[in-house]
């Protein structure tokens, strides 16, 4: 009897142990894009799940970027947040300081670790941020879909008008003038178009030699050079009348600029390298790409999102989340993600691989953003960064371009508000 019981017990234990070993640890990955990016991500999630049996990742769409951020925070309150999600760089300092994110240092060095040295320096967390003289934050974010703005130009249009690809602000100005086509009081073709948006303004700010904050991060420093950047747009739109300001804030303006470019209503635009696939597939002309024009120096911001882990998630789910993030940033995956979307690969070994090298040879446009990384400018690692972007700069730029305020007034007010926000966080 006892032997039988023991036998049953052993079978039960083995059986349950076997089942436990077979049950994968399930973790959620929340993402905030749709369309092609979503398809690509979902197919990779499926591949990850099929490639191993220890973890299973469930990916879900959570709305646009802001809806997702709101839901993450609400979910954090009720302790139902996902293990992993992705977020734009500007929001990272905020989230880190609030204690929402888990450090990845141990994971990276652990048994399922990753070779941090192989990551493209300009695309990593350390390459994105200026730690303002303070101690660097530990690793808590790995690059996901990363991009830089580039200059797209209608190569056929430029060739037809004998216009050289501009490399400086002055050249951009004169090129825009030559490309603009007017009929009476109507402008049939604009020379240049760019969404009046924080991201591009940040680039112009640095191209003029300015920075967002002082090196210690205690005060705003963008007033003068930010005004010059804004004034550049104001002049192009209102004085030269060679630049079209696409209507709408956020992504509507970006979509209008893209559509205008494809429809040959504009000769040159600034927008993300992420649209390169889209442009090449849909333009009925030769699409050229180049660095953003320089002024005092060449400078670009980087953009896109990072993978992060939620601190409050249970440990097994964090492990699962890490395994997924690590896998997604492995050279093989970063190549397939990049090829499918147009975002940049995040690993040096991936870029140097024979496959990518020959891809770049055949498609030189894709290399532009990568090469431009040497001009990448860092963002200050300050919790005020997100607020300054969303509240202080982004909504107020267009007032100057529309002529309801002067660039000087806009920047003076912005400078003051930014300092208020910074001092609020300093407390």
């Amino acid at each position: 009897m006892k032997q039988m019981l023991a036998g049953v017990l052993v079978v039960l234990l083995l059986g349950s142990a076997g089942r436990a070993a077979a049950d994968p640890i399930v973790a959620q990955f929340w993402y905030s894009f749709g369309g092609k990016n979503r398809e690509v991500t979902e197919s990779h999630i499926k591949k990850f799940n099929e490639s191993q049996s220890k973890y299973r990742i469930e990916g879900t769409f959570q709305g646009d970027y802001f809806q997702a951020l709101a839901k993450i925070r609400a979910a954090a309150i009720t302790k139902t947040a996902p293990a992993a999600f992705h977020v734009v760089g500007e929001a990272l300092p905020n989230l880190w300081q609030a204690g929402m994110l888990e450090s990845m240092e141990e994971f990276a060095k652990g048994p399922n670790g990753t070779d941090l040295a192989d990551f493209v320096p300009g695309l990593t967390q350390a390459g994105y941020f200026d730690y303002l003289g303070k101690q660097a934050a530990p690793l808590f974010a790995l690059p996901f879909f990363r991009s830089t703005p580039i200059l797209y130009y209608n190569a056929d249009m430029l060739a037809a008008k004998g216009v050289k690809v501009p490399t400086t602000w002055d050249e951009l100005r004169s090129a825009a003038g030559k490309l603009t086509v007017r009929e009476g009081s109507d402008t049939k073709v604009y020379g240049f178009e760019v969404p009046v948006d924080w991201w591009f303004w940040f680039g112009l700010l640095h191209q003029g030699g300015g920075t967002l904050m002082t090196p210690d991060g205690k005060k705003a420093a963008f007033k003068e050079k930010g005004q010059e950047a804004l004034q550049f747009w104001v002049d192009l739109v209102n004085r030269d009348k060679t630049m079209k300001q696409p209507p709408g804030k956020d992504y509507s303006a970006w979509e209008v600029a893209n559509t205008d470019f494809i429809n040959q209503r504009v000769g040159m635009i600034f927008t993300s390298t992420a649209f390169l696939n889209y442009m090449t597939e849909n333009a009925k002309f030769k699409v050229g790409t180049a660095f953003l024009p320089a002024r005092v120096k060449a400078a670009v911001p980087t953009g896109g999102t990072y993978f992060v882990l939620m601190k409050d998630a249970p440990t097994p789910q964090k492990e699962a989340g890490w395994a997924f993030i690590k896998w997604m940033t492995d050279p093989e995956q970063t190549i397939s993600l990049s090829k499918a979307t147009g975002y940049m690969p995040v690993r040096l070994s991936a870029i140097n691989s024979a496959g990518m090298q020959s891809f770049y040879k055949d498609n030189p446009n894709y290399k532009v953003a990568l090469d431009q990384l040497r001009n990448a400018q860092r963002f200050p690692f300050s919790p005020a960064l997100f607020d300054i972007q969303r509240e202080v700069i982004q909504p107020n730029l267009e007032a100057a371009v529309l002529g309801t305020k002067t660039a000087a007034d806009v920047m003076t007010a912005a400078d003051q508000k930014a300092n208020e926000i910074i001092s609020k966080y300093e407390k």
Binding site: L69, S185, P247, K249, R390, T404
Partner: protein, 293 residues
């Protein structure tokens, strides 16, 4: 006997109303109370709340908030007036049986049931001051292009027009119904008295439509005060702040800037203001409504 019945009725009344009230309290009033609570803090939904007393309300007593109120009133007023006017005219014209009439009604109604996302892109393209269809049409008749969505002085009215265009099917259907509910006897009597078309309208149609009109004023006002999708998709409150209306303002404060305290204070203020306005509107209009009894 009567008082027993009265007491029974009272209990019945409570019994019938209680479940509704409970649900209203939970899903509508609790969030407002929650907002009132959050409105005295500064909160980004992430870090602990920071008590700031009435600071959020003081911040709101600003030109920016005043502009939001004005924009909302203008948007709502424009939408209601145009919807009622156009809806009524169309209903009068389409108020007869026939395939053409039914087909036209269907056409007008089709835009009402389509979602905003689907048509907003088209409107953005059609209104483009460079090559939009509307711009093209304006040029054909010799007018200068207008920067419909990009000009602060015009954008709000553009949204009014697009909203009216999209929701026209609703007042049309309701007015048609109201018209067809008017007993023919009234018109026959008027004809016997030799009434003209305008008089028929003024003394029979319009007064007898007043319940319908009230119905539409109330529903359209409420719907337009909650206008959000069109702003979110087409202008995001811009250019500058010219299309910033109530719900979008709160959404922006709460979910773009993560200033939940300020957003909550705005909620409380609006709630109080509009409650007043709705009661006023109701009291004023119900005196003018005539029933056929």
């Amino acid at each position: 006997m009567a008082s027993r019945r009265a007491r029974r009725d009272a209990w019945l009344g409570y019994a019938l109303v209680a479940p509704s009230l409970a649900l209203f309290g939970l899903v509508y009033l609790y969030p407002v109370a929650y907002s009132a609570y959050v409105s005295v803090f500064e909160w980004d939904l992430m870090t602990p709340k920071r008590y700031v007393g009435l600071a959020n309300y003081r911040v709101l007593a600003s030109a920016e908030f005043g502009e939001v109120l004005v924009n909302t009133a203008l948007y709502s007023g424009g939408v209601v007036a145009l919807s009622l006017g156009l809806g009524l005219v169309l209903a009068l014209l389409l108020n007869h049986r026939g395939a053409l009439s039914a087909a036209l009604q269907g056409c007008i109604f089709s835009s009402y049931i389509v979602s905003w996302v689907a048509v907003s892109l088209l409107w953005i393209w059609m209104l483009d001051p460079q090559y939009g269809l509307v711009t093209y049409g304006l040029r054909l008749v010799g007018l200068r292009p207008v920067n419909w969505l990009g000009s602060p002085s015009v954008a709000l009215w553009t949204l009014v027009l697009v909203t009216v265009w999209k929701t026209l099917g609703y007042p049309l259907v309701i007015y048609l119904a109201g018209l067809q509910a008017i007993p023919g006897d009234f018109y026959e009597a008027a004809d016997l008295d030799g009434a003209t078309g305008w008089n028929r309208f003024r003394f029979i149609t319009w007064p007898l439509l007043s319940p319908t009109t009230l119905f539409l004023v109330v529903t359209l006002t409420i719907a337009s005060f909650q206008g959000f999708d069109i702003v979110k998709i087409m202008t995001q409150g811009g250019p500058v702040t010219s299309t910033m209306i109530y719900v979008y303002y709160i959404y922006e404060q709460a979910f773009q800037y993560f200033r939940l305290g300020k957003a909550s204070a705005a909620v409380v203020i609006f709630f109080a203001l509009i409650l007043l306005l709705t009661l006023l509107q109701w009291l004023v209009f119900r005196k003018r409504v005539q029933y056929t009894t």
